[in-house]
């Protein structure tokens, strides 16, 4: 490259350059599968923020509860210099389970 930055490890392998995109974690928290809520993240209004969902299931793999499917509708909006994440029930098949929400900044 003719501009930008590159970072190398002790073996001379390039681990990071200005053409890479790092993901930072703004927040990770657990909510009920059919809950409603919102959180404000100050100072990231100009950043690319996304929400990834991960189900929280039990340990028995053959139960209906493990095979259940539950997703939230997550919306990211910009409020001036801040980002707001809002979640609400979207779809469900089977038993309700908790969901971990990852709020990531790219």
């Amino acid at each position: 490259m003719s501009y930008g930055f590159e970072i190398y490890d002790a073996s001379g392998e390039r681990w990071l350059s200005s053409t890479d995109l790092l993901i930072s974690v703004l927040d990770v928290f657990q909510v009920a599968g059919e809950s409603v809520g919102t959180r404000l993240y100050p100072g990231v209004g100009a950043q690319n923020v996304m929400v990834v969902q991960s189900p929280v299931k039990g340990t028995s793999l053959t139960t209906d509860a493990f095979m259940a499917f539950c997703r939230l509708n997550t919306v990211v909006t910009t409020e001036g210099a801040n980002k707001r994440v809002t979640w609400s029930p979207a779809v469900r098949l089977g038993a309700v389970h908790d969901i971990n929400l990852y709020v990531l900044r790219a």
Binding site: Y3, G4, F5, I7, D9, A10, W15, L16, S17, S18, T19, D20, L21, L22, I23, S24, V25, L26, V28, G43, Q47, N48, M50, V51, V52, Q53, S54, P55, V56, K57, T59, L61, T62, D64, F66, M67, F69, R71, L72, N73, A90, V91, R92, L93, G94, N100, Y102, L104, R105, A106
Partner: protein, 339 residues
């Protein structure tokens, strides 16, 4: 920010910064070899509609046979035998338990090198135990679909990459470290950071033919600019998330036989009485993401569970209902950079 350090990449998106911790490669989760479930070991399930002389009853349970997950609807009468309709899963599959020690909640990316093997993470759980370094041990439950009978042979085709926030790091004598205002590490050049190559956004799915339950069309887009195309990556790995269910309802039209008797002459036999239908639904799990050679995204559908059984009156048919909520954004890495 009014202080600190921030690097931006050529695409204008933020790279290294002193405010938020970047994710670091922890390692690949390992299949434990135990506590996994294979569909081929599970019994088939049946639903009976029994039309006896004193009215109809409804029972369900496990049948004696095992194999690919089979769901059987039976219509019986007490005297005149039974008729059977069967729905079998399109792929063999199982839920595999993987293990990883991670200082914080692991963020999982999965890849497959075999187009016939498809992974999806069904759940992540803190076991409550720690390793010798004091890191919590997590179980990652991965649903795999594979050619019939492959079972554990599917594991070598799949990589489960795990990333985590790293709150403390070993002391180095060289390199770059970045700290936030509380003194927490946000970047360390001595650790292998999570480098996102692109982000796909899935806006919808299409599967219009109930008879073809093996794949589906995905409507998706990727970020543009200077980011690489997915086909430019040596080994694309997708952040795994369970995004949808397809529920197939198969309706079996069954003619029931019932005994009749003609009083006085001793004649008796069986004749068609009516054609009530038995519905049973099977939940199909959308399983994983893989990149086809032509650059299209593929998901496979694997039958995992039966859900309902009822009685209808119309003729035989098969219908599909989609349980989904889009858009879904899925970050992508090049797994080859972490092998």
């Amino acid at each position: 920010m009014t202080y600190g350090i921030a690097f931006s990449g050529a695409n204008g998106l933020l790279s290294v910064n002193s405010d938020w911790a970047s994710l670091t490669f922890i390692g690949k989760a390992i299949w434990t070899g135990v506590d996994s479930v294979f569909a081929a070991d599970l019994p088939s399930l049946y639903w009976d509609r029994n039309f006896g002389p004193f009215g109809a009853s409804y029972t369900s349970g496990a049948s004696g046979g095992v194999g690919l997950r089979t769901f059987i609807a039976r219509s019986e009468s007490s005297f005149c035998g039974s008729l059977v309709g069967t729905l079998t899963t399109p792929n063999d599959n199982g839920v595999f338990k993987y293990s990883i020690a991670s200082p914080d909640y692991p963020h999982i990316f999965v890849s497959t090198t075999n187009p016939a093997v498809c992974p999806t993470v069904m759940g992540i759980r803190d076991t409550g135990t720690v390793n010798d370094d004091g890191w919590p041990i997590w179980h990652v439950f991965v649903s795999l679909s594979y050619p019939a009978g492959m079972r554990a042979g599917a594991v070598p085709y799949v990589d489960v990459y795990c990333f985590s926030q790293m709150f403390t790091t070993p002391v180095d004598e060289y390199g770059i470290k970045v700290f936030d205002s509380a003194g927490n590490i946000t970047f360390n050049s001595g650790l292998n950071p999570l480098r996102i190559k692109n982000v796909i956004t899935i806006t919808g799915t299409t599967m219009s033919n109930p008879a073809d339950l093996s794949t589906l069309d995905i409507e998706e887009s990727i970020l543009g600019g200077d980011l690489p195309l997915l086909t430019d990556l040596a080994k694309p790995a997708f952040m795994s998330t369970d995004i949808a269910r397809y529920v197939v309802t198969k309706r079996i039209n069954m003619g029931l036989l019932t005994r009749y008797a003609i009083i006085g002459n001793g004649n008796a036999g069986c004749e068609p009485l009516a054609y009530p239908s038995i519905d049973f639904t099977q939940t199909f799990l959308m399983n994983g993401v893989r990149l086809a050679a032509d650059g299209t995204l593929l998901y496979s559908i694997v039958g995992m569970d039966a859900r309902n059984c009822g009685v209808g009156t119309s003729s035989s048919s098969t219908s599909i209902a989609k349980i989904e909520s889009f858009p879904v954004r899925i970050p992508v890495i090049d797994g080859a950079e972490y092998d």
